[in-house]
Subunit: 260 residues, 2 copies
Amino acid sequence: MEKTGGELSKVSVCLSPVLFYQYAEQLDSDCIVVVIDVLRATTTIASALNNGASGVKAVSEVSECIEVAAQLNGVAGGEREGKVAPGLEHGNSPLEYTRELLGGRPLVLTTTNGTRLLNLAQKHSPKQIITGAFVNLDAVVTHIRAEKKLSESNRLNVVLACAGWRDSVCLEDSMFAGAVVSRLRETGDFQIQCDSAQTVESLYNSAKSDLYENLKSASHFQRLAKLNLFDDLRFCLTPSTINLVPLFNVDTGLLISKVL
Amino acid sequence: MEKTGGELSKVSVCLSPVLFYQYAEQLDSDCIVVVIDVLRATTTIASALNNGASGVKAVSEVSECIEVAAQLNGVAGGEREGKVAPGLEHGNSPLEYTRELLGGRPLVLTTTNGTRLLNLAQKHSPKQIITGAFVNLDAVVTHIRAEKKLSESNRLNVVLACAGWRDSVCLEDSMFAGAVVSRLRETGDFQIQCDSAQTVESLYNSAKSDLYENLKSASHFQRLAKLNLFDDLRFCLTPSTINLVPLFNVDTGLLISKVL
């Protein structure tokens, strides 16, 4: 199965943080991890960077969020159950973090599963950790392809890590992973042998003609729809409106913008 | 969302034994668990019962398998890595357990993930535990529908539990779960709100025109194909050739045949 010349580049999909340990072996210096939390953390991260945030720090707890934001002279925000987290002024809406609000400062965002995945991935020192969402789909794919070309061995494994909802598999994160798998398969430069990757690619292909319509049945879509967050949903499910990749800096713990 | 008259009947899909704990709350006396290990454990269980085995006992270890088979005057069998488990005479081929070999005796089968799921499910005392595979797809669906009608409240939750491969999500188990979801949805009597259920239903719909062809890319298909087990694969992936449901008996720990 392996290509000659060490060019094996595998794409794998991790459907829940609970399953992440299975991908540990792959997380070496030839591997990019893409953390995915479409509704809404990784959409908000891309949006805030696009609106001039100097970086985004993802933290688990509200108290840590407030403390770190004070240290960094940043904006503190985050959600619990789809609403602004108690104790914070700002939530997790990608539309909330405007240029005016951010003023070039960093955003400190409290998330649960997304942050957990960032921490898990860091332990294994992959080549890079980035975040992905439909809003920066093209950018994520372009970045991965460019990194593969840049690598000495022309080898680059990719682990698409879905944050899900309280460890459950989520339709929207799975579907975004499927979108990336589909595009990487089309290039002919990547091997897609992971069963989860094949599953989500099929899911994406069945839904890509109208992501918004086809994601209406997703449990987290319905949760946000009950809170009337339709503008957020529309923004999160419109592909490739933002042309940057949030890139995790191991030294500072900040996600910073790589404009493509 | 809930129907009136306590008729809520939910279908959920658990994609890996690692995720099973998330379904614990649903596992009450109104819930059927379907354990799925298409290649090949749950196919072999259905096949052995169809060929006259008086019951099937699933155990984890080879030593236990030999001991229990001696106690029950049964046939011991099982696989490790797709091959006959070291120490046993018979493997995990559904074609191996003929009427001649079985002679009306029980089969004691050593499996890993399937047995683990049976044990996990038992702890929560659901209404029933059955096993499913493509070979008894129609029977599984017919049985579930009949049990719903028989229940006093006309309420029956269903958890479709995929065994996977070493905790990884498997294409064939996911696809079988999708086949059951698809058929239960068509009845109009079940709610399909679980994101995993929607994912596997989409997967099944994309592949149902030719299961065998579409499962050739599955990692466990390829593992068995390398061992030239094409007859087994063909048998495992041909739907509804066996009209019974293996039903777990809590008192004896045996799966026994319910002929439909």
